[in-house]
């Protein structure tokens, strides 16, 4: 087969251009289809929500809380779990498999802050931990706040009556 020998010669180790390298690396990269990623994200993300639901039910049963009252402590517990798992290096291992399944739940928010804090610890507590903690989470807070402000503005201008039940 002349074609394959020619190809083999082109990819010989001596004159490997970066483009050739890229194409070889791409060929040997483990292929992960979008479908498979979505299934994994669904299972693990759903599992985290299931855990949240269990914690919420536990708060409601043990401390006689309403659904609304139990929401904040539930989030806090999930965040503690996420921070502990991030510190042990476990969360990032799960995240490699789960993709958005671990990023989208609130645990991913805590994970991004905790891992940034740990990563920059060497630069000191003020310039490293303090300054970098919101590196990833900051964009979520900024855009969420701005969006909430404009939604509030719309309600303030056009009135609240009956539309929102809070």
């Amino acid at each position: 087969m002349p074609a394959s020998t020619k190809k083999g010669a082109k990819f010989s180790l001596d004159n490997l251009s970066s483009q050739d390298y890229k194409s070889i690396a791409q060929k040997h990269e483990p292929k992960r289809s979008i479908f498979k990623n979505c299934i994994l994200a669904f299972l693990i993300g759903g599992g985290i929500c299931l855990l949240g639901q269990a914690i919420q039910q536990a708060f409601m049963a043990l401390f006689d809380m309403s659904t609304k009252e139990a929401a904040s402590p539930t989030v806090a517990v999930l965040i503690i779990i996420s921070v502990i798992l991030t510190s042990c290096g476990v969360y990032d291992k799960i995240a490699q498999v789960a993709g958005a399944g671990t990023a989208v739940p609130v645990t991913g928010f805590a994970n991004s802050m905790c891992s940034a804090a740990l990563e920059h610890k060497a630069e000191g507590y003020v310039l490293g931990v303090g300054a970098n903690m919101f590196k990833l989470a900051g964009s979520v807070i900024v855009f969420g706040t701005v969006a909430a402000f404009f939604v509030g503005l719309v309600y303030a201008i056009f009135g609240l009556e009956g539309v929102h039940h809070q």
Binding site: F42, V75, G101, V104, M113, S139
Partner: protein, 116 residues
């Protein structure tokens, strides 16, 4: 039953995020920001509360509920205090999540020796 819906709805929101990352090649930061804004807008139309009632933690654990909670805080203080409430109320509901994340991340940085 609530557990089943929590699993399904929570999983589906994560799938939306995964599709945004894989099919539209968005970075995780772009994906999260989009989801938060989507949650805030959905709550503005009054759509998020029914979802939480239906799916429980399946709707309140994903990051979209963060946007929804920001709007909730802003609207409830707007109702109570008038215009200034929009600004003072935004973080009222989400305070627990943000404070917990800051405090525990900082404590982790104090205690844990980073590897690598």
């Amino acid at each position: 039953m609530q557990f089943l819906w929590a699993f399904i709805i929570g999983g589906l929101i994560c799938v939306i995020g995964q599709i945004m990352m894989d099919a539209f090649k968005l970075t995780p930061a772009h994906t999260m920001s989009t989801l938060v804004v989507a949650g805030a807008v959905a709550d503005g139309f009054g759509l998020y509360d029914p979802l939480v009632k239906f799916a429980g933690a399946g709707a309140s654990v994903p990051i979209t509920s963060f946007g929804s909670s920001l709007v909730h805080g802003a609207l409830s203080e707007l109702q109570r205090d008038g215009w200034v409430g929009i600004v003072t109320g935004i973080f009222e509901v989400t305070s627990a999540g943000i404070s917990a994340a800051i405090i525990f991340s900082f404590l982790a940085a104090l205690i844990v020796r980073p590897r690598g």
